[in-house]
């Protein structure tokens, strides 16, 4: 392809993935689109169960049963990964797109030596010549700063600490010089100092090797430390995307705003409370009509209950799916000084056609919205 060198290395277009359970179709990912440029570090953030990991698994064709991709295109260097054969896809996994998982404790096979497992990742593909497999494995472990690597290759996973195992996982992920590394919560199982080391390692590898990284996390601090661009997901959809500066300095979607307010800040007034987001993510079998964040949004309007907002441009390279946007919330609803973050608190909008008293009770208990007769 002509654009292969300059264009995005990965384009996800209108991806929808569902799980077909006995209770109905769980729409885990809906109409998600994003690009990844060569050498870029992209963060995908959101709460648990908002579709981050399923998006990643969809890219690699690893969505577990009963789930499957129902719609969309995933173009890797212009090739749609959803239409190619199983063996071609297997070849791409690990060779061109590698993935590291959340829990390094269970991602290594307990019965094999570390060295064998790193080498095996290379043997799965023929990208690295046979004779180079062993020295390269050692070299990779040294590159990810496993001390005394020449001896440690003979160890088993249980002899490694969590941080060291994650380094091994990263070494395995990098072993075939992939163009994209998908890191699914790579630091969640690690303590904070080790997290910092792993992030530094990923940063160095991105800089030195030019590997594009998709970082999936619920931890905005991790995103700020590594990513240049951020995609915020909620209930299976992208609600906002933009550069890291834009997302952190001027979030436009109330969900992003609320996520940021739930972060501890070093410059905050020490008596200020951390704000949690009221309520729970919606049921993905029967999501609320309109904007899916409406049951939890302090700034909601009447139309949020009936019309689902599209992702629209709100700045240079920044887009948000919101009828209100924070710009208006700051200007008209006093978002800067808002302390009461219960749903509808800033806009005063109640769910349509539900009795005022009932809605009051439901919101006071910070539960998801009652669906009673929304009819939209």
């Amino acid at each position: 392809m002509a654009f292969a060198m300059s264009g995005p290395v990965l384009e996800v277009k209108n991806l929808s993935t569902s799980f077909f359970t006995d209770d109905g179709e769980v729409k885990a990912v809906r109409d998600v689109s994003f690009d990844l440029a060569p050498g870029e570090t992209l963060g995908i953030v959101g709460e648990s169960g908002c579709g981050k990991s399923v998006t990643a698994l969809s890219i690699l064709g690893l969505v577990p049963r009963p789930g499957r991709v129902v719609e969309g295109e995933i173009l890797f260097r212009g090739i749609d990964l959803l239409t190619i054969g199983r063996d071609e896809l297997r070849q791409i996994r690990g060779r061109d797109i590698a993935m590291i998982f959340q829990d390094p404790l269970s991602s290594l096979n307990p019965v094999h030596r570390i060295g064998f497992q790193v080498e095996e990742a290379m043997r799965a593909h023929d990208k690295v010549p046979r004779a180079e497999v062993r020295p390269r494995g050692l070299d990779l472990l040294q590159r990810v700063h496993v001390p005394d690597a020449s001896r440690r290759v003979r160890n088993y996973p249980h002899q490694f600490s969590g941080g060291m195992r994650q380094r091994v996982m990263i070494a395995m992920g990098l072993s075939n010089r992939p163009e994209i590394l998908i890191a699914d919560e790579p630091t969640t199982a690690l303590d904070v100092t080790v997290q910092a080391q792993i992030l530094q390692l990923l940063r160095d590898l991105n800089r030195d090797l030019g590997t594009s990284i998709i970082l999936i996390t619920h931890n905005l601090g991790v995103v700020a430390g590594l990513c240049t661009r951020v995609v915020v997901m909620y209930a299976g959809e992208i609600v906002e995307q933009g550069s890291t500066e834009q997302i952190f300095d001027s979030p436009q979607h109330p969900y992003t705003w609320a996520l940021l307010r739930s972060l501890p800040r070093i410059d905050a007034d020490r008596h200020e409370r951390l704000r949690s987001i009221e309520g729970l993510p919606p049921d993905l079998i029967a999501p609320p009509p309109g904007c899916k964040f409406n049951p939890r949004c302090p700034f909601r309007l009447e139309r949020c209950f009936s019309e689902a907002p599209e992702l629209v441009r709100v700045g240079d390279g920044q887009a948000a799916a919101c009828w209100v946007t924070m710009r208006r919330a700051y200007a008209e609803m006093g978002a800067a000084t808002l302390t009461d973050t219960r749903p509808g608190s800033a806009s005063g909008v109640r769910p349509p056609s539900s009795a005022a008293a009932g809605a009051e009770a439901a919101e006071g208990g910070s539960r998801p919205e009652p669906e009673a007769g929304d009819g939209g």
Partner: protein, 302 residues
Amino acid sequence: MAATITPLLEYSGGTLAREQVGLWRDGLRRLRRNRLALAAMVYLILLAIVCIVSLFWTPYKPNVVNTCPTYSLPGTPGHPLGCDELGRDTLSRLMVGSQISLAIGLITAAIVMVVGVGVGLLIGYLRGVVDAIFALVINVFYGVPPIMVALVLYVLLGPGVINIIIAIAATTWMDMARLVRGQTLSIREREYVEAARAGGARTRTILLTHIFPNALGPIIVQTTYVVPAAILTAAFFSFLGFGVPAPQADWGGMAQEGFSPLLSGFDPYMLLFPAIALSVTLLAFNFLGDGLRDAFDPRQRR
């Protein structure tokens, strides 16, 4: 107080982790600490030696009659375990009998392991239709008693050791297949299997290097159960008279030959010696199985 303090642990600048010994060496080291398993292993090694020796040498030819008066008691000069109803040397026949027992036990276990593990891995990994079909096949096989297969083969093909092995293997592979299927179903969901899949590993690699070694503990235990079970079943066939063909010495057949003299008032030795050999061997395999299970469990390794 001494002026210098010797460190308890020598820190060589590397890691404090112990130098890693291999899976098998480590397993054997742990096995050696298990007295019962060790005794069983020693017995089985002795049995194997006896078996090999008997291929080349026995005190008397096992099938030569009238080496001494019939029904000689144990302790008769030259015949420490006495003689049978044809005057054949019991010790020699007992030694040769170990060949049949070990051969049937090990070959059956090998067949069961290959078939059962292969089928179990495949249906556990592929699931779906393949699994459903094999579940049916397995249930059908469960309905077939081993003795019926042995009888059919006896009638169709005549007596023979191979027929016995086929009969036993054909009716015991399902346990192994079910066990391995269950293990595979659980192990295939582990994160390291998903990580291997995400790394582009081939299905064959996932099955053989990720799932199989992690299911090895239960497979070993099951195998060491198959060996004595096969030996016992084969001896049972011989005892009933349609097992190992006549002049060939085997423990089940010898027990059967010792049974009628016992009823007619002779001493019980002819029945006793093959029965003891059989029971001790079965026990030894079971103890060894338990010992191996403990020794090769990676979760118990330090």
